[in-house]
Amino acid sequence: MAIKVLHHGLATTVQDLGRPGYFHLGIPLGGAMDRYALRAANLLVGNDEGAAGLEAVFLGPKLEFTEDAVVAVTGADMPVRVDGVEQPGWTAFAVRAGQTLTFDFLKSGARIYIAVAGGIDVPLALGSRSTYPIGALGGYKGRPLAAGDELPVGAGNGSAEGRSVDASLRRLAAAPVALRVLPGLYWDRLSDEAKQSFFADEWKVAPEADRMGYRFRGGTKLSFVEREQPFGAGSDPSNIVDSCYPYGSIQVPGGTEPIILHRDAVSGGGYFMLGTVISADMDLIGQMQPHTPTRFVEVTMDEALAARAAETVRLGALRASLA
């Protein structure tokens, strides 16, 4: 069983839930930008929720199946077709040997997840099948897919087509987006005006936003409190003595454009971080298109933990509904 790539889309990669445990060595978490959507796609086709699927951003690939398969597409709203016949999203459907999967224009959101019963069976690299292209690690030959590739598929468990995620459990992209932020270790570097304007202003996703970081622009330039330049820090007021960068942390080089570090981020460097997007909201970022209006909302640690607990309940409901 294999999937032939006829067209690669824009940047289509093999992703699972990532490879935690190596960030301290500079190897990022990796994995799906919208992990909830990948889990849902896998559960629909009877896979373990951490099986490898395909993540396609903005533009769908064109794929030919060499054998019968059960497939599900979740995440962004991008109509999928089998030999030209539209199939429902968030639903398992059958693809026959020789048929071709294509996609219409993206309607909303940013990334689709394509799960195939049996999973994409590329070799594990450091415990994960996720592709980290800059490190040429994991996935299919360590890189995004290209026309002519043939993806191996594992053996499915005989799960049938037709299962669907209930509408209440589908997360659809909407705009504007509110991202909840816990102010962090270097929050005190900001002036009082900057602390206020960062949360008050509307920001927009910059076209450069990618798997490494989501960049925003359009808000007021942040100003800093005066300080004596610390030994080992750069001269810009946004510089610090090099530090670890958490997943979800927000750095603002020069005070101009906030960048939220995401799945393929660098693990450390010399820019201050004003705070961290809470874990419950990280998947939302994976579905944000360029120019999406965005506000940052300040929360407390208790609110962040409550949001995480609510996400766990939601995931439990998804698992129960597809069990």
Partner: protein, 80 residues
């Protein structure tokens, strides 16, 4: 006469020329052939060339330089 719509395959930022200091690929009223570049879409640090995809009498742009575009949005029309 019929109109052919050229749509952006991607969301991003639309550019009418290949660099800030060079003339646009096409201006309103220009004839186009199928493989002619009519603009670029910038997204994720890459620039995707948009081709006319059709040969026709004249092109008319509906999106300005450096404007945001959505996937599927009509960028220009070609009179055939």
């Amino acid at each position: 006469m019929s109109k052919h719509e050229i749509r952006s395959p991607l969301p991003g930022t639309f550019y009418r020329s290949s660099a800030p200091d060079v003339p646009p690929f096409k201006t309103d009223g220009d004839p186009v052939s199928s493989s002619d570049a009519i603009g670029l879409i910038e997204v994720m640090k890459t620039f995707q060339e948009i081709q006319a995809g059709v040969a026709g009498g004249s092109i008319r742009f509906l999106v300005d330089n450096e404007e945001p575009v959505m996937a599927g949005q009509v960028i220009a029309e070609v009179e055939q």
